[in-house]
Symmetry: C2
């Protein structure tokens, strides 16, 4: 049975006191050449690893983390993200972290700025947020960097420097959508439409990167297809969609947002068959997926994104554990069968 090496063991081997060992480890000087040498040798020889438990027990500051995410009440896409956060809060309940969650309205950028400014005033140790609005996020991020507050994002990635990010490769996810669709294509009858449905142009970067990825796939693909693109952001989604479908005869759809069900519903109303590939495991999307009216969904794993990013942040503060600056989650393909294993 392996015994764990402590500073005491090092002290004994190097024939000095634990105080000296401690000074060497934290290199805060006041150590003679000779002692330094001996301690460093012992450190290496015994392969010393500090006990993170004892370390963080001693370190009795309570870290404050503020989280800024879209209100799940306004857009149910954010519900799993909230769950992921709550899961981590429970997990670290007994530790020295104080995590507070703040919500903004995903349809109003001022809401984001307001809540963001408010929570920054309390000078937390770290801020985790979803940079839904490009400009406002950059403002927030600049403030955070200036104040030396640790910053982290998930879902989308800001242009500015951020200390940690968890997300998906959106360009590649567009390519995945293209590949999935390609298996159904028939050069003589298929007409492809890319549909962006988002209430307030929030996900501009998101949608654009997915579209680029999608199109890039067909550039290297044997048969060429005309690809029609439609951006829908108002309330009369149905009439706009109807018009789009009828005017171009589109029958194959790649929907870049979680509102995929809107296309499936419109096709249902029109009593038309079509191929629909879109995003996210919303209740309504799953319903159409199960009924065979959506062929595939790409899972952006909001729950996992939220929990992984929060966890990374917590462990970085608590245990000085280092995570890669950018963590990309796999792009998960969901059909009517494996969806059951995701619930």
């Amino acid at each position: 049975m392996k015994k764990k090496i402590t500073i005491k063991d090092i002290a004994k081997v190097a024939n000095v006191s634990i105080g000296t060992v401690d000074r060497v480890i934290h290199n805060r000087g006041k150590v003679s050449e000779k002692a330094l040498q001996k301690v460093n040798d012992a450190l290496k020889e015994l392969d010393y690893k500090a006990n993170p438990l004892a370390r963080s027990l001693k370190n009795n500051v309570v870290y404050a983390i503020s989280i800024l995410v879209p209100d799940p009440q306004k857009d149910s896409y954010w519900l799993p993200c909230q769950q992921g956060i709550m899961e981590i809060i429970t997990e670290y309940e007994a530790f020295d972290v104080d995590i507070s969650v703040h919500y903004f309205d995903p349809s109003e950028s001022e809401s984001f700025s307001q809540v963001g400014a408010r929570l920054i005033r309390k000078s937390p140790d770290a801020v985790l947020f979803v940079p839904l609005f490009e400009r406002e996020s950059d403002v927030l991020l600049r403030k955070l960097n200036k104040k030396g507050i640790l910053s982290a994002t998930f879902n989308s990635m800001p242009r500015n420097h951020v200390d940690q990010h968890v997300g998906q490769d959106l360009y590649l996810s567009g390519r995945v959508g293209a590949k999935l669709i390609s298996d159904f294509l028939d050069p003589s009858t298929s007409k492809i439409g890319i549909v962006h449905i988002d209430e307030a142009f929030n996900n501009a970067i998101h949608m654009q990167q997915k579209e680029e990825g999608f199109k890039s796939f067909y550039e290297t693909y044997a048969a060429k297809y005309d690809i029609f693109t439609k951006t829908i952001n108002t309330d009369n989604i149905h009439s706009t969609l109807l018009d789009f479908i009828e005017s171009h005869g589109v029958n194959v759809f790649f929907v870049t947002t979680s509102k995929t069900y809107e296309v499936a519903r419109t096709l249902e109303l029109l009593n038309k068959n079509g191929i629909v590939v879109g995003y996210d495991l919303l209740q309504e999307n799953i319903k159409y997926l199960t009924e065979g009216k959506i062929q595939f969904l790409i899972h952006q794993a909001p729950r996992m994104q939220a929990s992984l990013s929060l966890k990374s942040l917590v462990e970085k503060l608590l245990f000085k554990k280092e995570y890669p600056k950018k963590q990309f989650l796999p792009i998960e393909i969901i059909n009517s069968e494996n969806v059951k294993s995701y619930l």
Copy 2:
């Protein structure tokens, strides 16, 4: 900023000593009715949560965990599993766990029994293993249960009682394969073959459950297909496969093991096109997937299975954290595009 509640706080509020609080928490008696009441009230009122760091720091036993997994040198499918284990070992390096890994030859059941018997003799606190051989696993499991050693499995599930299990729903994964294939089927030309390729009948349960799931899908499916099944376990895989393909005219394949590339290779040699759906992200499978000679792979996430099961075990011992007895990982669908996000 929230202050964490300690037994000291409880003692102060209940107006007793920390010793009394401690006795209440661990209910080892010797506490008067009155004191018990007061302490319990304080405990509830302040919502006390023990600090797991301090707790496990104090608890200075070193837990021993023995792991019994197939040798990745004999079958490269187990390489990621080994990596997942190593990852967790590194993560908990500084903690009071002593994890030792032992390998058995996946083609020889005696090897499993032998190594299993050897490691059980050291009476570890927990044993994590892959129950590749049904009978031998049950023997091992019975010994573990008798000796009161914590048992855990992953990959396949033994019939006998096991304290913890991480795996995938194999029946459902068969259905997922069926669904993926169904999108390519043409009632007039398609002939479906289920192929089990395994060197030594190890994965009997695995393969059977997948086959059942696969077939169940087509029972409720509109068009009926003849489904041919072939089990290949010898070395002359190619000739057997060749014969199978030619004699039935099979052109759509569901391969239930990681040897999926064998079918793709045979088709390549025959210069035939076919639909191939199989399992696992082996180097060779990925090659054929990228070349379009395998349409989909189902990812069994051996790395994740190994790391999750080991992690659960470690945290159960170290922090008394409770995990669900059975954890099922999602069934992940891989095509030529999203495979990049898995590497």
